[in-house]
Structures are given as structure tokens and as C-alpha cells.
């Protein structure tokens, strides 16, 4: 079975998908970094559970 030659359109789509993938990966890394920065802040406090009836 032979593969058809890749069209210019496919290269453009691949470039767009790759770019979007990298942006999303960067965003995930940034949110992770933000979480670590905020949790390790001295002012950070874990919300206390409310007791029933209060």
C-alpha cells in the first residue's frame, strides 16, 4: 500500500496543531507553576471544613 504525497494543506494543518499543542502544554506547565507558587506562599491557608449546623 502506498501513501499519497502530503499536500501543502496537510503541512499547514500539522504546523497549526503542533503550535496549539505546544501552547496548551505551556499553559498546563504555567498553571502548575502558579499552583506551586500560591500554595508555597506564607499567606496560604487551607480552607477549614465547616462543621454541620454552622
Amino acid at each position: 500500500m502506498s501513501f499519497r504525497e502530503e499536500h501543502e494543506l496537510h503541512k499547514r494543518r500539522f504546523g497549526r496543531n503542533l503550535g496549539l499543542g505546544l501552547v496548551l502544554a505551556g499553559f498546563v506547565a504555567l498553571v502548575f507553576g502558579l499552583t506551586v507558587a500560591k500554595v508555597s506562599n506564607d499567606d496560604f491557608m487551607v480552607p477549614t471544613q465547616q462543621q454541620e449546623g454552622k
Binding site: L9, R12, R13, G15, R16, L18, G19, L20, L30, G33, L34, V36, A37, K38, N41
Partner: protein, 318 residues
């Protein structure tokens, strides 16, 4: 609006959608304008008296940049008819037929909401609120409202480009203070002479597009006088800022040099007429435009230098 612009707009609107490259969408964000947004926001963030965690600072600058880019995309969505008939903007993604108007609108709106929400989560509500207002001001007040009906479009619209250092400052401190208002004022006063110098040598572009720039409505002689008046006001404000919280000896030295150079060019522009300007292909106007870019960069670098020196106990006049 001319027939040519209407035709171009309809062509742009019917461009094949869904096949634009990554670079075409990136171009919608106006990357060159974004560099100014990033730089001035960064100075606002770093000049603030409160330390910010590096990751939070990075995230804040990134989301401010994305918000600025979203405003740029929405500006291109609305102005695709003007862009198509202006030589300077004809190759932008929408008039070039690479991105459809609907795609640009969806892209811009999505990024605008995303950037405001993320800046809020990363920093505080005030910074996010100013970013939201900046996008609204640039897209609705300037692009949709003012640009096509008043020659003062650049003066009032310049406020949109002046907000980033204020957002950076608010991201760090959670407040608006006199220092951040001064940084805002510096860009606000700088914008009119910067753009009017451009309008003088991009001769014909704005006329063709029917944008009521000062050069079109009041003539080029009046524009030259306006550049001089605004540059004098800018110089007074910029040098005066040296004696405030963001200033100091380093800033004063930079401000004196660059304002003297900018004033020299503004006077030269005012004294020239069109015949002389055409004869040397707008040499002085082009020089003033290039200088104006260095002018802003130098002033904000000096503000940053003063902030860095004050961290060592050397900044300001104390």
C-alpha cells in the same frame, strides 16, 4: 467608505475558513504592539514596591500580553475593510484572505475572556478589571467608536496603549497609585506625536481609507503644529516625573537627553512645509517616528533602573 474598501471587505469575509496556519493567528495578535505592552507592563510590575513571585509575575505579563493581543485581533476583525485599502496593513491576515472575519472575532473574544479570567486567578480582581476595561476601551471606544469619526481618535485612543504599566503595577500591589498614573500619562501624552509623525509620512494611506486622521481633516500644516504642542506638553510631563516616586537622577538624565532630541525634531517638523518634506522623502518625520520608539523605551528602562537602584538603597533622590 469607498467601493474598493467594501469589495475588499466582502472578499475578506468570504475567505476560506479553517485552514489558516498557526502564524496567521499569531499575526492577529499584533506581535509588534504586544512587545510594547509586555515591556511597559513588566516595568510597571517590577517598579512596584511589592515583590512578586517570579512565576506569578511571568503569568501576569503573559496574560496581559494575551489580553493586548486579543484586543488587536478584535481591532483587525472590525477594521478589515480599512486594512484592505491601506498599503501598511493590506497584508494582515484578514485582508490577505488567510483568516476569515468570523474566525478572527471568535479568536479575539475567546482570548479576551481567557486573559481577564486568568489574570484575576493569577493576581487580583483590580488588575483583571483594568485589563478588561483596556480591551473594552481599545475595541469599543477607540476602534468601533472614535476612529472613524473624530480626528482626536489618536489622542483619546492612546489611553488604551497607556494602561499596561498600570495593570502591571496593580498586579503587584493590588492598587492604583500616583506612580502608575504617571506611567500611564507618559504613554498617553507620547502617543499623539508618535502617530501623527507616522501619518505625515504614510502619505495618502489614511486618505484612501477615509479615516479622519488629523492630516486629513485639519491638513498637514495643522498636524505639524499639533505635534509640536503635544511634544512640549509631553516634555514638561516627562521631565517633571523625574521628581516623583518613579524618578531620580538616572531618569532625569535620560529624560533631559531624549526630550531635548524629541523637541528638536518636533520643532524641525513644525518649521518644514510639504514641499521640503517631499523633497527629502520625509527624512525628519521618519527620524522623529524612529526616535519616538527609542524615547519610550529609554524612559521606561530608566524607571526600571531607578526601581532596581532603590532596591540597593541608591534610587530616587533620597
Amino acid at each position: 467608505m469607498s467601493d474598493a474598501s467594501l469589495n475588499s471587505a466582502s472578499q475578506a469575509a468570504s475567505a476560506p475558513s479553517g485552514e489558516a496556519g498557526f502564524g496567521d493567528f499569531f499575526a492577529l495578535l499584533k506581535p509588534r504592539v504586544m512587545t510594547l505592552v509586555v515591556f511597559t507592563a513588566l516595568v510597571g510590575l517590577l517598579a512596584a514596591p511589592m515583590a512578586v513571585h517570579p512565576v506569578v509575575g511571568l503569568a501576569a505579563i503573559l496574560f496581559i500580553a494575551v489580553g493586548g493581543g486579543a484586543a488587536g485581533a478584535l481591532n483587525m476583525w472590525w477594521e478589515s475593510d480599512i486594512d484592505a485599502v491601506m498599503k501598511r496593513t493590506a497584508k494582515r491576515p484578514i485582508p490577505a484572505g488567510k483568516v476569515s472575519r468570523d474566525e478572527a472575532f471568535a479568536f479575539g473574544i475567546t482570548l479576551a475572556v481567557f486573559s481577564v479570567v486568568m489574570l484575576w486567578l493569577a493576581t487580583n480582581a483590580l488588575a483583571a478589571g483594568i485589563l478588561a476595561f483596556t480591551i473594552f476601551f481599545y475595541v469599543v471606544i477607540y476602534t468601533i467608536g472614535l476612529k472613524r469619526w473624530t480626528p482626536q481618535n489618536i489622542v483619546i485612543g492612546g489611553a488604551a496603549g497607556a494602561f499596561p504599566p498600570m495593570i502591571g503595577w496593580a498586579a503587584a500591589t493590588g492598587t492604583v497609585s500616583i506612580e502608575s498614573v504617571l506611567m500611564f500619562a507618559l504613554i498617553f501624552m507620547w502617543t499623539p506625536p508618535h502617530f501623527w509623525a507616522l501619518a505625515l509620512f504614510m502619505r495618502g494611506d489614511y486618505d484612501t481609507a477615509g479615516v479622519p486622521m488629523l492630516t486629513v481633516t485639519h491638513g498637514r500644516k495643522s498636524t505639524r503644529l499639533h505635534i509640536l504642542v503635544y511634544t512640549v506638553l509631553l516634555a514638561v510631563m516627562a521631565v517633571g516625573a523625574a521628581f516623583t516616586g518613579i524618578g531620580g537622577p538616572v531618569y532625569l538624565a535620560v529624560a533631559l537627553v531624549f526630550n531635548a532630541l524629541f523637541l528638536r525634531d518636533a520643532v524641525a517638523i513644525w518649521r518644514r512645509d510639504e514641499t521640503r518634506a517631499e523633497a527629502d522623502n520625509y527624512r525628519v518625520e521618519k527620524r522623529a517616528f524612529r526616535l519616538s520608539l527609542w524615547y519610550l523605551f529609554a524612559h521606561f528602562t530608566a524607571i526600571l533602573a531607578e526601581a532596581a537602584l532603590s532596591g540597593l538603597g541608591l534610587g530616587g533622590w533620597a
